[in-house]
């Protein structure tokens, strides 16, 4: 039982990082990205290559992952500076689809669909460490950082840009710089999650970094409550453990297991949105909060 829960907790912490960082740009800056899995993937490949080629040091892997994902997030920042709303969703969709093709085709770096296998387990000073404490530490760090930034002046800058970018700019705010910073921060965080994921699973391939994954992360943010600190974490834990809990339901014919679980999962998603449109931790009284 413990091993099962530890594994689930590790994955939940990693998803928590993804959801929190995505929430930073969705909930605060109003940048609706469905390409978060791309940066998750970039970090995972970066971290995995560090562990495979150099040393399985988790800190180095996370650092490299953050740099790669943060650096390449300028691909996402570029459309974010030019268009808003639905247009940006579509731009990030395009980026996600193209990136998934690249992940599948750049075999020397990513292993293609076959993926990278045998990623060594993380070692600190020569001892193998489990990923859970690392993931929890990273999650805590990122939550702390997002909380600081969200409540501080940078969060205010982002919100003002979300609500009225032209007014923010005419008050002297460099809107492009702030948006780019937010995107780089969020994507670097996703990169860290990617490195931890690679170290935890020992195997990664493109199938973990597809549009479906991006939508799942988005769903975590929305279901938990966009623009709240703890909402995305709640959403991540819920969406990750829901299928695991459903799988304990007995007496489903084995050949229908998948379908029944997916139907319950999808129904829960829809009903939650109908009855708690602002998310579980979102403030219902706030009216239209984003977009």
């Amino acid at each position: 039982m413990t091993a099962f829960l530890i594994n689930l907790a590790t994955l939940a912490a990693i998803s928590g990082i993804l959801a929190s960082t995505l929430n930073f740009i969705v909930g605060y800056a109003g940048i609706f990205s469905v390409a978060h899995a791309v940066f998750f993937g970039l970090g995972a490949y970066g971290g995995a290559q560090v562990a495979l080629l150099l040393v399985p040091n988790p800190f180095l892997a996370c650092l490299v992952a953050a740099v790669i994902a943060g650096g390449l997030s300028l691909c996402l920042a570029l459309p974010a500076l030019r268009v808003r709303g639905e247009y940006f969703v579509a731009a990030s969709l395009g980026l996600q689809m193209v990136a998934a093709t690249l992940f599948a085709e750049l075999k020397p770096l990513t292993g293609g669909i076959g993926g990278l296998v045998g990623i060594p387990r993380p070692e600190i000073l020569g001892t193998i460490v489990p990923v859970l404490p690392l993931a929890l530490a990273a999650l805590a760090l990122i939550l702390w950082a997002t909380a600081r930034l969200q409540r501080g002046t940078f969060g205010r800058t982002l919100q003002s840009i979300r609500d009225a970018d032209s007014a923010a700019e005419s008050l002297g705010k460099n809107v492009n710089a702030a948006k780019t910073l937010a995107v780089v921060f969020a994507c670097a965080g996703a990169g860290v999650a990617g490195a931890l994921y690679a170290l935890h699973l020992s195997f990664i391939n493109v199938e973990s970094f597809t549009l479906d994954q991006s939508i799942q992360i988005m769903a975590m943010v929305i279901i938990g409550g966009a623009g709240t600190l703890w909402g995305p974490l709640v959403g991540a834990v819920l969406l990750l453990s829901l299928p695991a809990v459903i799988s304990f339901i007995p007496f489903i014919p084995p050949t229908e297991v998948g379908a029944v679980q997916q139907i319950i999962y999808g129904t829960a998603m829809t009903l939650l949105m109908i009855f708690r449109p602002a998310g579980l931790l979102g403030d219902m009284s706030k009216g239209k909060s984003t977009a």
Binding site: V26, F32, L78, P79, R82, V83, G85, E86, Y87, F88, V89, A90, A91, L93, G94, L95, M97, V98, T101, L102, A104, E105, S166, L211, I215, M218, A219, V221, I222, I223, A226, E256, G258, A259, V260, Q262, I263, Y265, G266, T267, A268, M269, T270, L271, M273, I274, P277, A278, G279, M284, K286, G287, K288, S289, T290, A291
Partner: protein
Amino acid sequence: MLFLQLLLNGLQTGAIYALTAAGFALIFGATKIFHVAHGTAFTIAGYVFLFAWGAGWPSWLGVLASIAAAMVFGIVMERLVYRPIQRHEGSFFTVFVAAFGVSIVVQNIIGMIAGRGFATVDTPLSFSAEILPEIFVAPMLWISLATAGVLFVALTLFLTRHPAGVALRALAQNPDLIRTYGLSSNGLSVLAFAIGSALAAPAAIVTAMTTGLNEAIGHHVMLISIAATIVGGIGSLRGAALAGMMLGIAESLALTVVDTQWAEAVSFLVLFGFIIFRPAGIFGVTQTR
């Protein structure tokens, strides 16, 4: 010769994309709802036709049943999912997640009822003949192009002549205008969902006859519809249809220059490029503040 063949193939794919994209664009334009379950309407329509065909119904009845099913799905989505959400909070992604949940549910129910994997309507209409040396064309190509053409003429007439159609266009441009027509925007949004979803049915039937269906097929169709709507310019039906056609052709003609595995990425590269360099789309007008 290869070029001509690929162009013809692209036209057939393009006709399917154009019809679904027009439906998506109509719904999005009139209601501002990003209807990501549009692909689900497509899947439902395809399977209903498949069942009607399998049960030996005459094909016209199957087509009607398929259109009706798509319309019912669209209306049910509007009334039971989107409207309650928008009453509280019209957040863009709340709608997105809810619709995504529905598409998961429907996909799996179809898998349980119809069986998983590939299903197709077996008809000689999809079988190609060599009309010119090296050029193979199936009757379905002409049928799908004609269907798309006729539907567009009909839709254009409806949108320009019929009061409800004119009101729909007005709704797309300015929701406040509607009051002057004395039509409720609620009723109009149901109408938009009904017509938009119905447009997916012919495309789904063509797909069922040519490439065949599986329960997950709606996903890809929906993505293309989104891409086409943006490339065509939000609010422009003509743009969405043309862009859908263009993406279909681009996907096919791309094979003359790139390897086959990149064909699909081409559509989305086009999309990405459009947003960076011409965000207003083909027919959109650049907004100035």
